[in-house]
């Protein structure tokens, strides 16, 4: 059963209903879902865009980036708080709950905060005096802060596993997969990791450890750590490779326009990824906002209309997007997709000691002409969009850097896996 307010529809009529053989429970309400669904896509399928409330102004919030980066789609799943709905694949019978609500049902009285404090709340100087008022404010703030409540149960056991490959490739996007294939074809022992499941990526014959995000690179200890596995069978992997190739790609970031936080405002590339993964199309009038060069092609692929970011006066709506106000009038919208140039993802490279340079889209990993960006317990390399290379040539860039890694390995054949 898909409501009229669903944001998504099947590309092929009737295809979706047949595929939706799973059931997840959202605040105890059963919701149909398909194998390809994430928690977020299943919720969008029944028109749910707001899953929480913001910390300070108590505004309704929901997913934005749809790529596991932004942190406002957090929900409680099977008794554990703060799971990212947008990248969590659904399982049959999964229990999903909203967080950070004052009352379980009915309207949330704290929603008034947004209206009562129409100017900004300066939390450093808010209700400092008198002391009694300050103390009451602190109690209220403490109870409004925090997302979710304690986990229901202690966590399940986790297995540690050590690996010593010749090369560790971090990221199985275009450049990482191309490099992995080239290095393996040359006989090297390569581990390739990706933080998401295979459905987000292009199909590949390469063996990849999917759903195994690297969370820390510790050059001083010579170790790289990643966490993987299914919800109840977790493995903590540590890697001590001779070469590390950072292929972490690029992400969507926030575009400041008034009311850019309303539920139903999404990152345009993330939205495209969600539609591709679930084989769906948008079921509501959608407007892509951004600079023309970036936003217009995305609007075409999303089947949406386009408004230049400079023409946007504000996104309009209450608990979700209803329209946008532009310099030439109001335009109805069920969802708004913000399009900025993808920003290189450089956090892991920086943890590894690499330097970054500002390019207009974000901070790109700085590397030498061969692709190297650091030397320590391993040689650090980087390729693809993480270095500011555009997506269309990222695979070629991965191949080029892989060739340079091969040359480095062959020039020092004694330095195998340790």
């Amino acid at each position: 059963m898909i409501g009229a307010d669903s944001l998504l529809r099947a590309r092929e009529p009737s295809a979706l209903a047949g595929a939706r053989r799973l059931t997840v429970f959202y605040d105890e309400r059963p919701i149909p879902a398909s194998d390809a669904d994430t928690v977020t896509s299943a919720l969008l399928g029944v028109g749910v865009v707001a899953t929480g409330r913001s910390l300070k102004y108590r505004r309704p919030r929901g997913p934005y980036c749809l790529q596991g980066d932004c942190g406002t789609c957090l929900v409680r799943i099977d008794g554990v708080p703060n799971h990212r709905a947008c990248t969590t694949p659904v399982r049959d019978g999964m229990r999903v709950e909203r967080q950070n609500r004052v009352l379980a049902g009915g309207p949330d009285p704290t929603a008034l905060v947004d209206r009562l404090f129409a100017s900004n709340i300066d939390h450093h100087h808010f209700m400092v005096r008198p002391k009694l008022v300050n103390r009451m404010m602190q109690d209220v703030a403490r109870n409004l802060a925090g997302l979710g409540t304690l986990p229901d149960l202690p966590a399940a056991a986790v297995r540690p596993m050590e690996h010593r490959p010749q090369v560790l490739v971090v990221g199985a996007g275009r450049s990482g997969l191309a490099a992995t294939a080239r290095l393996r074809a040359a006989g090297l022992e390569v581990e390739c990791l990706d933080r998401f499941d295979a459905r987000w990526s292009t199909p590949t014959a390469q063996a990849v450890r999917w759903e195994t995000p690297v969370f820390g690179i510790y050059p001083a200890e010579g170790v790289i750590a990643a966490i993987g596995g299914t919800a109840d069978d977790r493995t903590l992997h540590t890697f001590r490779p001779s070469h590390v190739l950072i292929a972490t790609g690029a992400r969507d970031v926030m575009v400041p326009v008034p009311n850019n936080d309303l539920p139903g405002v999404f990152a345009a590339r993330g939205l495209l990824g969600l539609l591709t993964r679930t084989d769906t199309a948008l079921n509501c009038p959608t407007i892509v906002v951004g600079a023309p060069a970036v936003a217009q092609p995305l609007a075409a692929r999303l089947g949406a209309s386009f408004v230049a970011v400079d023409d946007v006066q504000a996104i309009l709506g209450g608990s979700r997007v209803e329209a946008i106000a532009t310099s030439s009038g109001k335009r109805e919208a069920g969802c708004v997709a913000l399009a900025a140039r993808p920003a290189p993802v450089s956090e892991l490279a920086r943890q590894a000691g690499a330097e970054v340079v500002w390019m207009d889209a974000g901070f790109a990993v700085a590397r030498d002409e061969l692709g190297r960006c650091g030397q320590g317990p391993w040689t650090l390399w980087a390729c693809g969009e993480a270095c500011g290379v555009t997506a269309d040539v990222a695979a070629d860039d991965g191949l080029r850097v892989a060739d340079n890694i091969l040359a480095a390995v062959r020039s020092r054949p004694d330095r195998g896996p340790r």
Binding site: R115, N120, A155, V158, P213, G216, V253, N260
Partner: protein, 116 residues
């Protein structure tokens, strides 16, 4: 709904609040992070850092050639205490390698901003 333009939705930090921080003399990415709370929520700056840099460039507070993001502290992805606990028997010696052993390829010392 009050009209607000957000730069960091995790911590509800608006463009107006960043402008206020600039107004009281804070000028770097690190200072504004600490004063406004921007980048300290669940996303750890993944959503907001680039927008902040654009704003600071626009306000003439920083130069594109010198700007650095705030320190990338692990973990970059969510990992639980129980998952980390599984490593307790495996992790190596207490000593960290001396900083000099971690030089960049050209041999120069890492910038001071890179200390975690």
């Amino acid at each position: 709904m009050t009209q607000r333009m957000f730069i960091c939705r995790c911590e509800d930090v608006t463009v107006a609040e960043v402008d206020h921080a600039i107004g009281i003399g804070l000028e770097s990415v690190e200072e504004i992070k600490r004063y406004t709370g921007l980048g300290t929520g669940p996303c750890q700056g993944k959503e907001c850092t680039v927008a902040l840099v654009h704003l600071l460039l626009d306000r003439g507070r920083i130069t594109a050639s010198a700007v650095q993001p705030f320190t990338a502290r692990p973990p970059a992805e969510p990992v639980t205490l129980a998952e980390l606990a599984s490593l307790a028997e495996l992790t190596g010696p207490a000593e960290l390698a001396a900083p000099a052993e971690l030089a960049s390829p050209a041999g120069e010392a890492p910038p001071s901003g890179a200390t975690p």
